[in-house]
Amino acid sequence: MPEQLNRYHNAKIIDHLASNYVIGTLSIKVRARLEKIALENKLIEARVHFWQQELAHLDNNTAELPASEISWQKISATIDESSPKVQHSNQRFYNKFTDYVVAYFGHLTSSLFNGFPRGLTNSFSVAVLALVMVLLFNPMSKTPKAESLNYVAVLTDDNAQAHLVASTYGESKRLVMNLINHPKITDDEDLEIWVVSKTDKQARSLGILPRNMSLVEQQLTEAQWRLIKDSDSLIVTIEEQGGSPIGEPSDIIVSRGLCVRLQEWRDNV
């Protein structure tokens, strides 16, 4: 991130980007990048505020258009779907955690791989369970014992082979990714990981996966943490080197997996 930020210390560049951001002439990709950087670069944020505040007067004479009657219903329904549930005790959660993982992933795998031999899906469930348990009690992990795992996603490829296990730790807002295998990509390609939002179903990038690394830890920004909290699933795609040029995932999906909030396990025990 510091390397990226260095490019945005020039006042002229910052003002050019901020003003073009506000009048909407940046590409989707550059817009997304600037929004990400503005979260940590107060100068960019200030210039965006300046231009927004000054040019907003151009909106004053825009004619009103009453929203369609179903708009609020849709908004309201989406909010209700994503509202958090009440917490239960940790002790009960841990007592039934294993049962729930088996049930959850057993259901998931039978849904995902309907038509596959039962033995295969059962094996997969056990493999996933093993992965999750390894992840939770991973001796390699530097996670302090007091810090709890919040979200976990097991990403599998089209052959039901686990590709990546992603987990997040809420207190330090860290994302830990265990790469189980490394799909073949060319030198001018990269693997990019995306969060698919529960709210708007849009995919937003969490970044490029480093090559040839099995354990990746990433400190999440506030914005990324919010994405995780609203996540439906994670996907990994093959993109051109440096990441998607348009800020959206390509059609070449290497693996995907539902993002499971551990709160849900608690609620079910």
Binding site: H16, N20, G24, I28, A46, L58, E64, A67, I75, S83
Partner: protein
Amino acid sequence: MSLSLATDNKRSNSENDELMHLLSLCKLADKQAFHQLYQCTSARLNGIAYRITRNVDSANEVLQEAFLQIWKNCHDYQPDKSDAFIWLSAIVRYRAYDRVKYDKRRHQTEHVPLDEGNLETLSFNPTSNDEYSPKTLNKCLAKLEKKQSQTIMMAYLYGYSRDDISAHFNTPVNTIKSWIRRGLGKLQLCLSN
């Protein structure tokens, strides 16, 4: 609590205070306050979305996406840095810009017609008696070359890309970029002074 934003274009301090208050309640997950915020602002925000997307259905979809983003990101709102309505309208505009770009990319072979009727309204009149347009912005826009102010407003008001503007003026894109860059540079100097 009642607001009369529906018929009043002028954002008074009290209206801003009301919206700020509603946003602060939204931060506490007060859905009733969020609904009230929607009722107070949705027609104006939908008008902005329609101005850019030029399609009623798209405008409504943009509005829905924007309000979900507002609910989710209301913690990001900083009352000391921005008026509440400006923050809300910026979210709607950016969603609408992205929507226009996204639709265009999906239908790249389709020509996106420029609305000549809309362009007529872009002749900025600095002597207008529009009491709601701040004099400073009026004066500063009037100081720009006509094409510079036009391109800036075509982008801001109607979401025209540099390619669209290039096609409209039958001028290379790089020239359009230059008009916008110089125009914004002059505008920034003028507004800052």
